[in-house]
Structures are given as structure tokens and as C-alpha cells.
Symmetry: C2
Subunit: 237 residues, 2 copies
């Protein structure tokens, strides 16, 4: 990919830099939504959960604005090669970020429901741990995007496997709780939905890393194994 400063048109550079900056702002907002949704659930903080729910429209607005910017750049600047990949990667990245925002909103809704129920002795430790892990993944994915760092992108994709294992562990624990005390089924199901949302956020973070690799290497690494992905990234670097 050409470095941004080789474009003849200064205005074009400004446009690309603007899109990049909007994506990072959107990412910052999405990270905050995840963090607050988890805190709201763990602490039983209903006002914080409600703040996450009402703030989701801002994530959506970012998606619409950035999409429109990208369309305009394609129509006006007719980018090719690396520049085109950049714009197309942004279009895909923001779709995943918007869906991360939706999952954060779902966690916040579960937080509201759970706040009315008896709190478990472990204070939702498992959601706190899984949530911290997933939030770090999203942070690292955005960091890989900001620095165009394909090695970091591969590490995040590897982390997704660990998140999936951790999620499976949480699920087994939840099933045990329900079996031991069926009166907790409704409550525990809400915890399960929150855990499921976190697992989905991990998948979206991995998707974003795949776009980073596509953008830098020009290679489509979706639907291949982690080993193949590593190989693609190492080649020619």
C-alpha cells in the first residue's frame, strides 16, 4: 500500500485521514460501550446500563456517516489498489463495530434484568473475567488497525480461540448452576445471554483483524486456519 503522503491531492489525503480518524473514534466509543455494559452488569448498576442502551444510536450514526464518506471517496477519487482496499476494509470494519455496539447493548439489557434479581455470591466474576478478556481483544484489534500491524492482528485472532474456550467454561458452569437449582434457570439464562454476546464480540474483533491483514497484505484470510493466516502474514514481510 502507498503511504498516505504520496497522494498528489492534498485534499484526498485529508479525506482518507478523516475517515481513519472517524473509525478510531467509533472504535473508542464501542470500547467504552463494552466496558460500561460489563460494569453495569457486574455492579448491578441500572443507570449505567441505561446509559449504554441510549448511547447505541451514536454508534449507529458513526456507521452511517463513515459509510457515506467512503461512498463519496470511491465516487469522487476512484481509488485503486491499496487505496481501494483501505476504503473497502473500512466499510467492512464499521459493520463489525456496529454489531459489537449491538452486543454491548444486549449485555446492558441483561444487566437491567439481572439488577432486579438476587446477586450470586461470586459477583458475576466469570462475566467480569470474560468481559475483560474480550474488551482487551477489541482494544488490540483497533490498535492493530491504527498501526496497520498484521502481526498484532494475528495475535488477536489467536486470542479469539482462548475466548471461545473461556466461554465454553462459563457455559458449563452455568449449566451446573441451573441443574443444581432449577429456580435459578431464568436468572442464569440472562447470564448466558451476556456471555454469548461477549463471545460474539470476540468474533467481530477477529473479523476486524482479518480486514487489517487484507488491507496491508492484499490477501483474503477469512475462512482459513490460524496457521495459514500466520503463514500469509509472515510471507514477504
Amino acid at each position: 500500500m502507498e503511504p498516505l503522503d504520496t497522494h498528489i491531492s492534498r485534499q484526498y489525503n485529508v479525506e482518507l485521514e478523516n475517515v481513519r480518524s472517524l473509525v478510531l473514534q467509533m472504535g473508542g466509543l464501542v470500547e467504552q460501550q463494552i466496558e460500561q455494559a460489563i460494569s453495569a452488569l457486574v455492579q448491578g448498576n441500572v443507570p449505567l446500563a441505561e446509559a449504554v442502551i441510549v448511547t447505541d444510536y451514536k454508534v449507529n450514526n458513526f456507521e452511517v456517516t463513515i459509510d457515506e464518506e467512503c461512498n463519496q471517496i470511491i465516487a469522487r477519487r476512484q481509488p485503486t489498489a491499496g487505496d481501494l482496499r483501505l476504503v473497502l476494509a473500512v466499510i467492512k470494519t464499521i459493520t463489525d463495530m456496529e454489531r459489537i455496539g449491538d452486543e454491548a447493548e444486549k449485555i446492558a439489557r441483561m444487566a437491567v434484568r439481572l439488577a432486579g434479581e438476587e446477586r450470586p455470591k461470586n459477583n458475576y466474576m466469570e462475566i467480569h473475567a470474560l468481559g475483560t478478556h474480550v474488551r482487551q481483544m477489541v482494544h488490540d484489534a483497533l490498535d492493530a488497525y491504527a498501526r496497520m500491524d498484521t502481526e498484532a492482528a494475528v495475535r488477536v485472532a489467536q486470542e479469539d480461540l482462548k475466548v471461545d474456550q473461556e466461554y465454553e467454561g462459563v457455559m458449563r458452569q452455568m449449566i451446573t448452576f441451573m441443574m443444581e437449582d432449577p429456580r435459578t434457570i431464568t436468572r442464569v439464562l440472562n447470564v448466558i445471554w451476556a456471555a454469548r454476546a461477549l463471545e460474539r464480540i470476540g468474533d467481530h474483533a477477529r473479523n476486524i483483524c482479518e480486514y487489517v491483514i487484507y488491507l496491508v497484505k492484499g490477501k483474503d484470510v477469512r475462512h482459513i486456519s490460524l496457521e495459514q493466516m500466520e503463514k500469509e502474514v509472515r510471507e514477504g514481510s
Copy 2:
């Protein structure tokens, strides 16, 4: 949007028609995957479920191929206005179709697990009903896409609300089963995952309809109410 036949370049027409045809083929495959996954679960048919699981790579291949075609068209033909919207709508549509394929695969995995368990008296009637409904939604979404029919697209989006209600009903029923007989918890959770996957497929079908409206009307109708969506479609038609 310009009709396809007004393009000066015959080759360009061929390229756009080819992408359109690939999207419809991919849609046909995805519909078949949903249908077979549901049948496999309802009938306890493990070989059919395994066929769905191994066929998912074909859905993924369609995504990669169509994405590449779209990138080439943008780079070579530098489309603007309606043509650009067409290509961008395809890029988004195939992402949702690929994820529908993933959900069908998940249902097939649940079918394999459930085939080893005792069958419920109602033969998974609720999954059959919800599955039929969702499959029809996907079919109608693809039909709206093929015919560029925004009115049909709005009807599919409205159907998604009914699917969500039906899904909530299934969930309540499943919670009752688990409470009545906690030994069924593990089995019923697998049914819940299948129902959840179907509900997600409904969301993706709705997304596809939103792209149809964007494509035909040039209006972004994501993140607005159904009433607003109807209004946008009726205006100027």
C-alpha cells in the same frame, strides 16, 4: 438507478450481470443450507446435518469470489451513483449471506448433538415452525433483491418482528420445559441455540432488505423504525 442495459460497455454489463447471478446462486445455496439444517434437526438425520456442515465452505467461497469481483469492478470501471450503490450493496449483502450460512451450520451442529438424545413428543415442532418462517423470510429477501422490489423488502422487514415474537414464545416454552424437568437442561439448551440461530438469520434477512432499499432509493434505512422505513420507500415511488 440506471437500467443495466444503458451501459455503453457491453463487457461492463456482462460483469454486473455476472455478479448479480453469483449473488442469486449464493442465495440459493444458503436457502438450501437452512432448509437442510432444519430438516436434519427435526428428523434427527445426522448424515444430512453433516452434509450441511461440510458444505459451508462453498458459501464462504462464494463470498470470497463475489467480493473479489466487486473489487475488480470498482477498480476497473470506477462506477458512480447507482452502479456504485449496486456494487456496495452486493458487498454488504454477501457478508450477511455468509453469516446466514454460519448460523445454518450451527443449527446442523445442534442437530448432530440432539440426534443422540431422546426425542421430544412434539418432534421439535417449534423449531420446524420457526425455521419455516425464517426460511421464507430469507427467500423473500432474495426475491426482493432479485426484483429490486422495495415494497417487498419492507414486508420482509415487518416479518422480522413476527419472527422475533415467535422466537420469544419458543424461549418461554423451553424455559418451562427446563424448570419442569431439570434433567432436560442440556438437551433443551441445544434447542435454544438452534432457535437463537434462526432468530439471527431473520435479522440478516432484514439487513439484506435494507440494502435493497438503499440500492433502489439511495436511502440508508438502517437504524430507523419500520414506520420511517415504509415512509422512505413510499416517497417518490
